[in-house]
Symmetry: C2
Subunit: 178 residues, 2 copies
């Protein structure tokens, strides 16, 4: 039996669903079924309902993804190897998960940008934290933003085309800009 | 009175809704209300329902956007000016539309990538056509893919952050890679 606390199981299940099918298409019944939690526990842990759950998922998934990516980055000896490792790692994850697991917040970011300002701000905060972490490493905010754009756009094209070709092309552009 | 044929009004209204709130959050009742069309006309013109409507919107919006962007591109004297004009134009559109109108298919592409293979293929076809058009102009497929990634990722970050800063950063990276 899964001994992970219910609240955490709900967050993990929601994060997976958001990443793979987005915000609007994720029903709360599917969330609790996948989390193996009773329906009532959702409103017990997240009295603000879907919006509160989504905000927490965006923020926690954002921090988790940042930790993961910076760990890969910081293991490398040079900036060039580090940037290459991040893109290569992203391509490997896409292939390993049948193009399901990419950026944890891009789908939801596009869905909520013009419809839910609380959630839009959460995605903006996450992108800002990622930009700050990368700026620290590349020594230049403009370059950090551009590399992040290339990575995010590659996720869109790779998932649509079920190919890692755009990721490798984006990596070469990111490296050319260093 | 709007004399545009009903079918076309439905396509235009759906395209706007998809661009701004995505696929799952767009209800067919909202579509017909915005198109000023009776509900029955939707299934008359699109017997395959929401999926058929979405596929046509993806393909027509993709072709329309491509015509728009290549027109901007081809007006410029040099490759550098052309690439800069595309990113500057994207930034201007984002500002002019309160960050609502960006890529016509990115939101839906991320939503359907793992859930609807008919629609995923439609988004893949559009991205492939854009890549071909840009490859023809830049003379290099790898570079074309990378520039498209940078542009698509910039749409995500700009809409989330309600700022054109990522678009300008992405433009500089795209220019550096030429």
């Amino acid at each position: 039996m899964d001994k992970t606390p219910t609240r955490e199981r709900i967050l993990v299940a929601t994060a997976e669903l958001f990443r793979r099918r987005g915000y609007a298409a994720t029903g709360l019944k599917t969330v609790v079924a996948r989390a193996g939690a009773p329906f009532g526990s959702l409103y017990h842990h997240f009295p603000g309902g879907k919006q509160q759950l989504a905000e927490e998922v965006i923020r926690t998934a954002g921090a988790f993804f940042q930790a993961l990516v910076t760990a890969v980055y910081d293991e490398q000896a040079t900036t060039e190897e580090a940037v290459r490792a991040v893109f290569t790692g992203a391509a490997a994850t896409l292939e390993a998960t049948d193009y399901q697991d990419a950026c944890p917040i891009a789908a939801i970011a596009l869905e909520v940008a013009s419809t839910d300002d609380v959630l839009r701000r959460a995605t903006a905060d996450v992108f800002e934290q990622w930009t700050a972490a990368l700026t620290e490493r590349l020594g230049d905010r403009d370059r950090a933003l551009a590399v992040l754009c290339a990575l995010e756009g590659a996720f869109v094209l790779c998932r649509a085309r079920r190919s890692t070709e755009p990721m490798h092309a984006a990596a070469r552009l990111a490296l050319a800009g260093l």
